[in-house]
């Protein structure tokens, strides 16, 4: 029972986070007049379409203008542009929630659609693919190396390794990406400089997959390089802290094999705080993904951010900010569940 309450509380907190971000977004848009400009752009778009269709039937230009201005006023009251911006907030919240953000200014989806929701939707999977793969690799590497370092704490290996891990924390992901491009695609021509598939993409399932893999190597290496350091260092510290607990000494004193002590006595106990640190690092890896995608022209949402900034397309930026928050909250919730599964104290409380 307490498990469900705990989970519900966390879920509620995360929901409030989403709400706060949403409110922050819409209030900023409203107070700065951006939402007004976005609506005006929608209206003038509709009027342009109307003018073309009306021009077929109404020949008299004065009459046409009159009909159009009448419709203009209708549209203004329909979108509540005649009311103060706070009045439009609920509607704006709904529009952001459903990604009903109209048309992008210059950006197009791969199929040529200019609907913001479609542009964002088709890139979602590409981002998730990249981030998940990199995270899994990072997690495995950290779980393999971290405990090893903890057993050798204070040794030269440990000290040198810690320095490297610290160095990894200090690396800006975009620069690592640029460095890898210069080193492995510009000088050696081993990997492509960017994109997700060759042009034209190869036919056939396996070849297509290999092509994808070949394009994904450098971005994934970048993401692993920048997130691996703090992650491994955390595991090392957590394992180290647990290893100093008396029950570990008891386990050793009982004559249990070292592997068993390591797995059942140390790693198992250190698991929940490790998940907590994974949660804290989540926002960072999303940020890293935005920058890495930008450098490697990976057709995900991060690269879309960059393109939207260059094109000054605020609807796309609003949509992306919302989706990124959503992804983040979703991932956080999964980690919360994982935490509850790993920490028996909550289950039996």
């Amino acid at each position: 029972m307490s498990l469900i309450i705990k989970l519900a509380t966390r879920g509620l907190t995360l929901f409030v986070v989403l709400l706060v971000v949403l409110l922050l977004v819409v209030i900023t848009l409203g107070a700065t007049g951006f939402s007004e400009r976005m609506l005006q752009a929608t209206i003038s778009e509709e009027l342009r379409g109307l003018r073309q269709s009306l021009a077929q039937t109404i020949r008299d230009p004065a009459q046409l203008e009159e009909a159009l201005s009448l419709h203009h006023e209708e549209l203004i009251s329909y979108y509540h542009l005649d009311k103060p911006w706070s009045y439009r907030l609920p509607d704006l919240v709904r529009r952001v929630l459903t990604l009903d953000l109209g048309e992008a200014r210059t950006l197009r989806s791969f199929e040529g659609s200019s609907q913001v929701s479609e542009i964002v939707a088709e890139r979602l999977l590409n981002t998730i693919l990249l981030v998940t793969t990199a995270s899994v690799i990072t997690a495995i590497l950290g779980l393999l190396i971290g405990p090893r370092l903890a057993t050798k704490v204070g040794s030269r290996l440990d000290r040198v390794a810690c320095l490297f891990l610290a160095f990894s924390y200090a690396l800006p992901s975009m620069w690592v990406g640029i460095f890898l491009i210069l080193a492995f695609s510009f000088s050696v021509n081993l990997f492509p400089t960017g994109g997700m598939y060759s042009l034209p993409p190869p036919e056939g399932g396996i070849e297509r997959f290999m092509d994808l893999l070949w394009h994904a190597v450098l971005p994934i290496v970048t993401l692993v390089l920048v997130s691996f350091g703090s992650w491994t260092y955390t595991i090392r510290t957590m394992v180290l802290n647990t290893a100093q607990e008396p029950f570990v000494s008891v386990g050793r004193a009982k004559g249990l094999p070292e592997r068993m002590v390591e797995r059942r006595y140390i790693l198992r106990v250190a698991a929940p705080p490790i998940v907590t640190s994974l949660m804290l690092g989540l926002a960072g890896s999303l940020g890293g993904a935005i920058l890495t995608e930008t450098v490697f022209n990976w057709p995900g949402m991060g690269r879309l951010y960059y393109d939207a900034i260059l094109a000054a397309d605020e609807s796309v930026i609003v949509a992306l900010t919302f989706i990124f928050t959503l992804i983040y909250i979703f991932a956080r919730f999964i980690l919360e569940i994982l935490y509850l599964i790993l920490d028996p104290r909550i289950r039996y409380a």
């Binding site: 907190t13 700065t32 610290a166 200090a170 800006p172 460095f179 400089t193 989540l282 951010y305 900010t321």
Partner: protein, 475 residues
Amino acid sequence: MRLQETIKVLLSSNTGKAGAGFLLLMVVVSIYVVISYPLDFGLRFWNNPVVWADNPKNVPPAWSSIFTDLKRVKHTTLRATEPTEVVPGTGIDTRLYTFNLGYQFDEPPSFTSFALDNITYYSRPPIITLSIARPDGKEILLYRHVVRGPDPGESFPISRYVESPYRVYLSGDDSVLFNIADFARQELGLDIPLSQLRGMVDRIIFGIPAEEGGQDFEVLRGNYTIKAATQVYHPQDSVGEVVFVLGGSIYGVMGTDSLGRDLATGLLFGFPVALVIGLVTAILTTIIGAFMGILSGYKGGKTDTIIQRSCDILANVPLLPILIFLIFILGQKLGLVILILVTFGWPGLTILIRSMVLQYHSSQLVEATRALGASPWRIMFRHIFFQIAPFVLAQMIFFTPAAILAEAGLSFLGLGDPSIPTWGQILESGFRTGAVFAGYWWWVIPPGLLIVLAAMTFVLLTLGMEPVVNPRLRR
């Protein structure tokens, strides 16, 4: 623990020493920059193309030429304010400004340009003729310029080119092109179509055909004399400055970017900016975070709940997307970036500090002070705070690289503050203009390395602070 003691422990480890050394380096460079750079460096110099017009574009640093056998062209600016020789004539004086140029490089210059500054005349407008005498005895007339005559209603003396110099980009100027075509026809016997000649100008001026009648040119080494002859019609006429620029294929300590900006100056300016971003954000975050954490932990009850719930929410906001959104909508200002980083940064620290304060809350020290009648505020900020001070300091140092990296990331996405150049912005301009794919390493590697250096400085200090925070690690 006292401050002196803290520093002593910090400096006892190699990581601490390295961190302190880097920090000292950054501070020294920052002080130098703050003293020697104007405050509006970003707008008046860095983002002002006029300042960099006479620099070669996209050329590597001077020291990079040690990796090649090729003798690369050194960027040379020749200036004269006084004529080398005055040839008197009847009513017309000819003032000669001559420059001697020993050309011993293996390639033609990347460009040549010529500029006149601050000309004043009292009767007819002066005529300036630029020509170059080559080592093989041939002379090329490059350019002739008549200073613009008086406008209706303008009275003598007339001043021209006072605010900005009159500048000719010789390598791309049409009249130079015709003159070079004439030279090629008459002196070399080559009839090269103008469309082909464009882009060959410098190769012809500083070269000879590799074979008789061929259109491949090789560099002609030796002494060149550049002559700017000014014909003046009044003895009081004056020419402020004559400038001839030989565009190098290498430049300065760090090379140049596509606008010809001297990257070294921009990179240097990044030092104080990075320090300010990192330290201001870290200090503000720590002050708010520590204050809220102590309050939350000591007061308990409703205060605690409210603070902890707001922390839960604020600490869970994904930073970079929000940062991008707010800066995009509210405008690209560095102060705003710092404000947002602080707003979403303090809760993390508050959660940590609260858990530490809870341990001290029921300690004998606190109990004793309370029994002595100390007020809650006195206990919180005179007693509890000083117990956790080293930890707070360590956290402050730990926050610094995060802020530097966040600003760099934001700048890289094109949302940097245009009035304040940062390393992230230099990286971004290199990326946006395709320097990465053209292999202009000197443009994109150094700014990133400096970001790493700045972040690494504080990471090393954090590592060095570990024994201070965790006395078990002290040796």
